[in-house]
Each structure stands twice: as structure tokens, then as C-alpha cells.
Symmetry: C2
Subunit: 297 residues, 2 copies
């Protein structure tokens, strides 16, 4: 087994990412963030930074950046599905979710995590974009930024991570993807130094990938039609997270901290059986790329 990355260094990276991303988001609006420290009964704890205002602020409806470092014993069932011997585990990670107020600004999610179990270790994570309206230049920018970060570590990564993202964020029963993808990887092992370097670069690519999109769309005027469509798409987001997302289900079934696990859910979501939007409409154009993922860079 290759030497594991140094835990303290990984933790330092994830805490830095939490700090940097929270600051970057906080600068976008005047919506204040609130910090909360929490402990996990089984071992470890975390620090969440959440948009303080209930119901959301003017810029974000929900925004949260979580750091966690936990350890303990996995259940037999959970341990079986993972590499490494025994049931003792250590995990640390940082996760981000932003549900902006303006329907033209896409929701974004990112997560970077490090896991140890027995003599095995691996990195996992990624970042994906969930617009309600499609702006191709935004999607190209998002994918392009992460591709550039991936490419510095080998040209094989982006195509694999992009395909992994399309595959993972699939709402199978709707035959749609949750969004327009990005990167997703898991069980990333090998040379500890090289892997750490790549995860560091990917984490640091988050703000450059997202902030310019936010700035570009934040002042686009919108009305009831766009708000209503946004809420419908947020219902789909809830469907993915509660029916398919492995992290969410693992957390809920292992008695995790519900507030942290469900931080990813939008504050408000709508379900309504409505006919598909016209293919030529702005709503229809989004649906098309959710049904048939494209190559963006």
C-alpha cells in the first residue's frame, strides 16, 4: 500500500478551502455567514458556515460551507462496500452548496474528501453546476476551469471525471441529469503527493470556476415564470439528493448530523406535473442538455 497522505496536511487544506470559499461567497453579497462548531458523538466534529438569515438573503437563498473531520467505527454493512480492512475509519472533507436567489444564477455544489479505512486511503469529490437556464458560455467556463486544473496532473483525468459526474448525478426515474455536470471522482489512490496536489488544485479551482458565472448573471431581471421554473428544478434537486445521493443516504442511515447532511437541500422546492416546456423555449433548452449530456470543452 502506498504511503498515505499526511492527515494534518489534508485537514489544513480543507480548512483553507473552507475559509477561502466562504470569503469568496461572502464578498458576493452582504448576506452574513454564521459559524457553528459541532461534535460527532461517535468521534470528531466539524465547523459549518451557513448563511445566517432564515429564508435566505438577497443574494443567496441558501449557502453553506462545511468542514468536518470524523473518525470511529463503520457499521458492518457500510464497511463491506469499501476498500480497506476492518471497520475503523477516518474521514475529513469540505463541502459547499449555493442556491442563489436569482433563477439565472446556477446552483453549485462541491465536495472534497479524504477517507482512510484500515490500510486503505483515498480521495473523492468534485464539483457540479445546476442551472435553471442554460448559458453555454457559463457551462464551458465551469468545465474549462476544472479541466485546466485536472490537465496539470495528466490529460486522462478530466474526461474520466467529467463522465463520472454525468453518470453519478443522474435522476434515473426522470431520465435527466441533475445539472450540466462538472467533475466527480472517488477512490482516487496512488501516489500520495501527486493525489494531494491534484485535489488541492481542484479545490482552488472552485471559486474561479463559479464566481465569474455568478457575477455575469446576478443582475438579470426575472419574474414569476423564471421563479416558478427555478422552484420546479429545485424539486428535482431534492429528488436526486434524497433518492440517489450516496453521501446523503449514508449519512441519514448512519445517524449522521441531519442539519449538515441536508444543508444541500434548497430552502423551497415545488412539485407540479406540467407538460414539458417547448423545445425552443429557454426552459426546453436546459431540459435538452439534462437529457443528453454534452461535451463542453
Amino acid at each position: 500500500m502506498a504511503t498515505a497522505p499526511d492527515r494534518a496536511r489534508v485537514v489544513q487544506l480543507f480548512r483553507e478551502l473552507q475559509d477561502g470559499i466562504t470569503s469568496g461567497l461572502a464578498e458576493l453579497g452582504r448576506d452574513p455567514f454564521e459559524e457553528e462548531e459541532w461534535e460527532r458523538p461517535g468521534g470528531g466534529g466539524g465547523r459549518s458556515r451557513l448563511l445566517a438569515e432564515a429564508g435566505g438573503g438577497a443574494t443567496f437563498e441558501r449557502a453553506g460551507v462545511n468542514f468536518a473531520e470524523v473518525h470511529g467505527e463503520l457499521s458492518e454493512a457500510a464497511a463491506q462496500g469499501m476498500p480497506g480492512s476492518g471497520r475503523a475509519f477516518y474521514a475529513t472533507g469540505v463541502s459547499v452548496v449555493v442556491h442563489p436567489r436569482n433563477p439565472y444564477v446556477p446552483t453549485v455544489h462541491a465536495n472534497f474528501r479524504f477517507f482512510e479505512k484500515g490500510d486503505a486511503w483515498w480521495f473523492g469529490g468534485g464539483s457540479d453546476l445546476t442551472p435553471s437556464y442554460l448559458f453555454e458560455e457559463d457551462v464551458r467556463h465551469f468545465h474549462g476551469t476544472f479541466k485546466a486544473a485536472c490537465d496539470r496532473h495528466g490529460l486522462e483525468h478530466y474526461p474520466a471525471f467529467k463522465a463520472g459526474c454525468d453518470e453519478y448525478f443522474s435522476i434515473a426515474h426522470r431520465k435527466e441529469r441533475r445539472g450540466v455536470g462538472g467533475i466527480f471522482f472517488d477512490y482516487l489512490r496512488g501516489d500520495a503527493e501527486a493525489r494531494f496536489g491534484m485535489v488541492q488544485d481542484l479545490g482552488r479551482a472552485f471559486l474561479p470556476a463559479y464566481l465569474p458565472i455568478f457575477e455575469r448573471r446576478r443582475n438579470t431581471p426575472y419574474g414569476e415564470r423564471e421563479r416558478s421554473w427555478q422552484l420546479l428544478r429545485r424539486g428535482r434537486y431534492v429528488e436526486f439528493n434524497l433518492v440517489y445521493d450516496r453521501g446523503t443516504l449514508f449519512g441519514l442511515r448512519t445517524d449522521g448530523r441531519v442539519e449538515s447532511i441536508l444543508m444541500s437541500l434548497p430552502p423551497l422546492a415545488r412539485w407540479e406535473t406540467v407538460p414539458d416546456p417547448e423545445p425552443a423555449s429557454d426552459e426546453g433548452k436546459l431540459l435538452e442538455v439534462l437529457r443528453v449530456p454534452r461535451e463542453w470543452v
Copy 2:
């Protein structure tokens, strides 16, 4: 194996229940219902009666009464978990969900179904009440009406079905029940005539169990606080249905008709991490019985 109930007679009962319940609900408001017939690619089909207005009407935010009769081949995985030989199945059922506009009127759900697989057959179903505010007399009335219907077929049924309901409608990760319960049963076999008679009585008890509660609470004035709490409780409803409900998950994973399966979801739901309401408040009183189910009759 005991003689199976006559399919045609069961179908007739479930269609009658659909007709009767739709009429009963339609009389409550002037919100029109729309009928849609649908076919299942694998065999069979159904007839849904849904509140017509997108976004809901003045009385209901969502109301639907579905009838279905389907048959075909179960997947290996689905077939394994059920009684009876082989994979061929036949199923028919009626299901009801009502999400009223007024937060003082409880959401209600009912489902009665008949299943055949190989030489096995069984009935399943039940009905449960999900208030946002607790009125003990309402809960006693709801339970009492179903208890009376159960008791006509043996005093052993209500206690078992009531306990089954509390156990089934559990949002484990919240350590709460979805609502204040009612009755729930599955794999009900034995004497075909007796079982049919009981399911008939339970189905016919639905309107008498629910309508008086609706009438009693429908004109209660409410404001932002009650609406906001109602939406939060509806988020919990979504959590149960998407994370735990066996019927929903079975349907979504076997490529079922999404509009029918997710008919049960509320039109609008809210997620917000807020402190627990004061135990003495109206909201706190509900939470208490969701955490520790009571005996009501």
C-alpha cells in the same frame, strides 16, 4: 393456498372507492378534478383524478385519487422480497392524497391494494393523517372511525394496524413519525371473503374519517407563521416519501409512471434549519406526538 379473491370484484371495489372519494373531496371545494387514463408499457394501466389547477385551488393545494390495475413480470430483485413463486404479478389499487391549503387542515393519505404473485395473494394498505397542528379530537375521530371499521372484523386488527402505521411512517433520521398515524397493513391473507369484506369496510371508512376534520378546520384563520410551519412539515413529508416509502422507491426504481408515483408529494416544501419550537407552543405540541406516538382510542 386459500382461494384468491375474485379480481373483477376487487377492481370494482377500488373503482367505486375512487369514484366515491373523488366525489366526496370535490364537494368540499369548487376546485375541479381532471381525469386522465394512462397505460403501462409493461401491461395494464390506470385512471388518475387530479386537482386540475396548477399550483392548486382555493381548498386544496394538491389532491389526487388514483386507480391502477397492472400486471407483468417483476424483476428478479423485486420478486425475491415477496411471497409467491415466479415473477409474474398482478396488482390493483386505489390511492389518495390530499394536501389542503389551510395549515389547520391535516394532509391525509390512503391506499388500498391487492397483489397476486404466483399462487400467493394479499391485500395491503391503510390510511394515515399528517397534521401541521394537533387537535386531539381530530386524531381521536380519525383513529376511532378506522378502529370501528376494523373491529367489525375482529378486535385484533386495529391494535396491530395502528402499531404497523406508527412503525412504517417513521422518519428515522429525524426521530419523528410522518404524522399521527392511523392504520397500515400488508400481506393480509387468509379467508378471501373475510379479507375482502374488511378492506371494503376500511376503504368506505375513509371519507367518514376525514371529511368531518376537514369541515371543522377549513375556515380557521391563519397567517405567515402557520403557512411557514406547514411548508416545513411538508418538507418532512417529502423526506419520508423519497427516503423511506417502499412504494415510492419501488416505483421509481422499476421505471414506474413518475407522475403517479410522485403525486403524493406536496406542491411546495421548505427546508430550513430552525430551532425546535417551544414545547408549549402549538408547533411544539405536534412535534411531541410525532416523537412519541400515543394511543388515541
